[in-house]
């Protein structure tokens, strides 16, 4: 079926803040009853999990009781700032997952590396399913979001969106490079794995999605759009011409640049119309929260109000999905081995990493993880409150929440045994609201299930094979 393409700036015409767009219904009618698309979201928590008691529900199956880290799923707690409703029925908890350790000093398929128990050596198997061979956080295969985006989001305005809530690393260079602030990676033109750099500024992320639209009858805006097109014409030609003049290696380096300019041109020119009437122009989140040390009124280190940043970015993911601006997103809440301060929410002068290393007790570690779970709960509640088709948006999303490490065993915060994933959404027969004990499975098995759920038929992710049984009705 031929997709009817409308200009992005037409369909969002005349919208005020958070006001549904009357035009959309018309367009929806024009586009004619297509089923809602499936969407895929990865949320990343850059810290390991607390001891079992604080995370793993006592019972398996439906109706599990919420543990300390999972309490935000209950919502309805004004004091805690949990303004959402109870979403525990919507979220499946998968526990007992393992990223295997090296055997005889050699990494095994889907395993972590032998360079000590570095936080970052779980990143490759976790995100790409391919074993790590050193301590570096760069995955050795493409990450799941990229594989999914290529399959289901190719024609979207944005093939995928990559956001990160933690503003900065907040700690000196550790010799492992900047990849711990990234969770999406793909092959470049020369076949190397390169990072897809996340947008960190909620203010800019909003601009990227929602500014520059042309209200009807606004000639000024129309003229701006004409100029924009003319600008990008020149830039595109100029890029192509430059690529013809430089050497082979530099040409490869420019290829990505060229692709992004083409993508920007296409975004400015048009997109597939939305399938639901939920699309509205969000009011801007306002200026980005400042780094606390840049202010004179408090002495916080390693904090730029990530709570509010995470919420703003979650709002944008929700609306980007609702408007069908993209079908794939990643939301990295914190860096791998995060040095973000916990003081604003735990009242301890320490960072997330330190509370796992003695600066806090086990409850603090659990609460640090709960801070991440809050954003998941907030977002799931939003999807559930957004009607779509005969149900809600939740019926058409698959959300996988993963953490960099497993649960503390005997006080060791670096295990990759007893890892966990939280899964939300009902796309492709995903079964929400249950606790699955999945001993012997790999976190990537959960991701493979979610990939299949959104219509990306695959048996493998990297070196890991098979869906997690029981996570969905295939």
């Amino acid at each position: 079926m031929r997709t009817k393409r409308l200009r992005r700036r037409t369909f969002l015409a005349g919208a005020g803040a958070t006001v549904g767009l009357p035009l959309l219904q018309t367009m929806q009618a024009q586009a004619g009853g297509q089923p809602a698309p499936s969407r895929f979201l990865v949320i990343f928590c850059g810290t390991s999990l607390p001891p079992e008691d604080s995370f793993v529900p006592a019972t398996t199956g439906a109706g599990y009781e919420l543990t300390r880290s999972l309490r935000p799923l209950a919502g309805n707690d004004a004091d805690a700032g949990w303004s959402w409703g109870d979403v525990s029925d919507e979220i499946s908890v998968v526990t007992g997952l393992t990223i295997p350790r090296p055997v005889d000093g050699e990494s095994v398929p889907g395993g972590r590396a032998s360079d000590g128990d570095w936080h970052s050596s779980t990143m490759s198997p976790l995100l790409s399913g391919v074993r790590a061979v050193d301590a570096g956080p760069r995955p050795r295969g493409e990450t799941a979001d990229i594989l999914v985006a290529r399959s289901i989001s190719k024609d979207s305005c944005f093939e995928s969106l990559n956001y990160r809530a933690q503003f900065e690393k907040y700690r000196d260079d550790d010799g492992l490079g900047p990849d711990d602030g990234r969770i999406s990676f793909s092959y470049d033109a020369s076949g190397d794995i390169v990072p897809n750099i996340p947008v960190v500024s909620p203010e800019f992320a909003h601009q990227q999605l929602f500014t520059g639209f042309v209200p009807p009858g606004d000639d000024g805006a129309l003229r701006r759009l004409e100029r924009d097109r003319s600008v990008l014409d020149i830039v595109r030609d100029s890029t192509a011409s430059l690529m013809g003049r430089v050497g082979a290696e530099d040409r490869l380096r420019l290829e990505r640049h060229f692709d992004e300019i083409r993508a920007l041109e296409q975004r400015i020119d048009g997109l597939t119309p939305p399938v639901g009437g939920n699309c509205s122009v969000l009011s801007p989140p306002g200026p980005d929260p400042e780094l606390a040390t840049n202010r004179s009124d408090d002495g916080l280190i390693g904090w730029a109000d990530e709570t509010s940043r995470a919420r703003s970015l979650a709002d944008l993911v929700h609306m980007a999905f609702a408007c069908d601006l993209t079908r794939v997103a990643t939301l990295q809440l914190t860096f791998s081995q995060s040095f973000m301060s916990v003081e604003p929410f735990l009242g301890i002068q320490a960072d997330l990493h330190e509370i796992g290393h003695g600066a806090g007790d086990e409850n603090d570690v659990a609460d640090g993880v709960a801070w991440h779970v809050e954003t998941l709960a907030y977002l799931v509640d939003k999807f559930r409150s957004t009607p779509e088709g005969s149900g809600t948006m939740l019926d058409n999303v698959a959300i996988v929440f993963v953490a960099e490490g497993g649960m503390m065993i005997d006080g060791d915060p670096h295990t990759s045994q007893n890892m966990a994933a939280l899964v939300a959404g009902r796309a492709g027969g995903l079964l929400p609201g249950q606790h699955l004990s999945a001993d012997g499975y790999h976190p990537a098995n959960v991701v493979i299930s979610a990939m299949n759920a959104v219509g990306v038929p695959t048996e493998v992710l990297g070196e890991v094979e098979g869906e997690l049984p029981g996570l969905r009705n295939a």
Partner: protein, 569 residues
């Protein structure tokens, strides 16, 4: 968009009619046309297009000092302007400061410098962000009558004044590309004229040109094509415009100024002496000095610090003043910064350090014999804190990696949580005791012998550079501050560490290596050791003056030539 005129860069800062003409003087030089004579300017374009369309038909012989093995020059990957360089360049080009807007874009990783070519990845955030910023600058320019007339260089008679438009395009592209644009490039931008016709507004087309030029990859990147060198496949000699850009981004962190453009146009940069003369002039400017400060802040890890803004500024001012005094005012050896017996403090910083007698900002002699030079500055001592306090391991790593360029491998195959603070035998254990295993267990000690003793020698100074006699909240844990630089000698405190480092060949090497890395925008490859050795020799001959090191880099073959490819793909 930020306020414009207060930020006008030096060349545009003194706005007399003559200097407005001065902006156009480049056009005059290049195109043999009057300031406001658009037609003349347009006709000149394409005749001096060495940078625009490099031709492979001609080649130049190598200079006498060209190394036997071209590989020692190292690879020259295409470099994008860092965000800081982009900001400075846009300011110089248009008079508009985009600093606040750039804060919205994905930041450049520090490795430790922000100009690492191998960390520059295009992303939707970057490309669309630059698009948004460029569009907004273009609007700011046309809405500001002064900036507009400065940049246009002619007053259009109407929307279809093609001559004036062509003048403007040629002038603006020249500065944006930092070389004469080819006629094909000018024609590409002339397409924007249709917008002026359609929208019946000359300025609409002006906006298109500015917005496009500010995100044009030839503006965003330091494109280097060069001329083939006779008999050396893959080696190219940079042309005068490419050299001007190399000079200005190394020494200014921005595009060339008018004098540098003029020098390039006059052929002055074709000789090593000419390059040196230009560099000497540039180093003696405010921009040149600011760049030297930027280099040190990134290298020595105090570009951003975990302290409140005003205290952090005071700390930076202390270090910047020492650098300014040593490197520029006294023109002393770089190593003199390790032994300075006085320091420059504000009252706030003096109070922070506990120098209660200092009530005015200015120089003060150290009373504490353990303090001397830059290593006792809070800026440097702020590096390497962990677990809420100084980390002897992390401080040791800082000294090893940043000052001695030692490669310290990550621990492998150790059955211990290397990331946690060392385990205490008892709750009451003091720090030295807690790090015992690093000394006793041979597996740990193999590496930690290079790290912990360095950190322990600095333990008498806390994570904000304050003197202390015992561990925080532990009066029962006195700090002796005794340390060792393995293989060199014992020390206690930054002054003695500085004495060791002052005569350390490793620091000499590391200083040159970091400066070279900053200059080439990537980690040096092994084969470039020969180049680095040569630079060391030349700098040593000049008493280790930092300007001599920069000049040695500028004069070296690796600055004047490039090797095609070689990154190993």
């Amino acid at each position: 968009m930020a306020n414009k005129f207060p930020h006008l860069p030096a060349p545009l800062g003194v706005l007399s009619p003559a200097s407005i003409c001065g902006w156009a003087a480049v056009g005059l030089l290049l195109f043999s046309a009057g300031c406001y004579s658009g037609v003349g300017a347009a006709q000149g374009i394409g005749e001096t297009d060495s940078g625009g369309e490099a031709s492979d038909t001609s080649s130049v012989p190598p200079d006498d000092d060209f190394p036997e093995d071209p590989a020692v020059l190292g690879p020259s990957p295409l470099r994008r302007l860092s965000l800081a360089e982009y900001r400075a360049t846009v300011l110089d080009l248009t008079g508009v400061d985009v600093g606040p807007e750039l804060g919205l874009l994905p930041s450049d990783p520090r490795t430790p410098f922000d100009n690492d070519a191998l960390e520059q990845f295009a992303s939707p955030g970057l490309i669309e962000g630059l698009h948004v910023i460029a569009t907004s600058v273009a609007q700011s320019v046309v809405e500001d009558p002064n900036l507009r007339s400065l940049i246009l260089g002619c007053e259009p008679t109407g929307p279809d004044d093609e001559a004036c438009f062509r003048t403007f395009v040629g002038r603006f592209l020249f500065r944006a590309y930092r070389r004469p644009p080819s006629s094909a490039e000018v024609d590409r931008y002339m397409e924007a004229e249709t917008i002026a016709q359609d929208q019946q507004a000359f300025d609409a087309a002006v906006q298109v040109v500015i917005a496009a030029a500010l995100q044009d990859p030839s503006m965003l990147h330091r494109v280097e094509i060069g001329t083939p060198v006779t008999g050396l496949s893959g080696v190219r000699a940079l042309d005068e415009w490419e050299l001007a850009s190399r000079l200005s981004y190394l020494l200014y962190g921005s595009m060339p100024d008018d004098s540098l453009f003029a020098a390039a146009d006059a052929g002055d940069l074709d000789t090593v002496d000419g390059l040196e003369a230009a560099a000497i002039r540039m180093l003696d400017t405010e921009q040149g000095r600011a760049q030297v400060q930027r280099f040190h802040a990134q290298w020595l890890g105090y570009e951003s610090m975990p302290h409140l803004a005003s205290l952090g500024d005071a700390m930076r001012a202390e270090t910047e003043t020492l650098i300014e005094e040593t490197l520029f005012e006294s023109e002393d050896s770089w190593f003199a910064m390790l032994s300075a017996r006085r320091t420059w403090v504000t009252p706030e910083l003096a109070a922070h350090y506990g120098m209660s007698e200092q009530v005015e900002e200015g120089w003060v002699e150290y009373q504490d014999p353990q303090r001397a030079g830059i290593l006792s500055h809070a800026t440097v001592l702020s590096n390497g804190s962990k677990f809420g306090d100084t980390s002897p391991v992390q401080r040791g790593l800082f000294v090893r990696r940043r000052l001695l360029c030692d490669e310290i491998p990550l621990p492998t195959d150790v059955d211990v949580d290397v990331d946690a603070p060392p385990e205490a035998q008892s709750e009451d254990a003091c720090k030295l005791e807690r790090y015992e295993r690093h000394r006793e267990d041979p597996t740990c000690a193999a590496c930690h012998v290079y790290l912990d003793p360095v950190g322990f020698g600095l333990e008498g100074f806390d994570a904000a550079g304050r003197k202390r006699l015992h561990e925080p909240d532990r009066p029962d844990c006195p700090i002796d501050g005794l340390g060792e630089l393995n293989g060199v000698g014992d020390f206690s405190g930054p002054a003695e560490l500085g004495q060791h480092l002052q005569v350390s060949p490793d620091l000499e090497d590391c200083l040159v290596r970091h400066t070279y890395r900053f200059a080439v925008g990537r980690e040096p490859t092994n084969i470039e050791t020969a180049t680095i050795e040569e630079l060391k020799k030349l700098t040593q001959d000049q008493g280790w003056r930092f300007d001599a090191l920069l000049l040695a880099i500028v004069k070296s073959p690796s600055f004047r030539y490039r090797v095609e490819g070689g990154m190993g793909g």
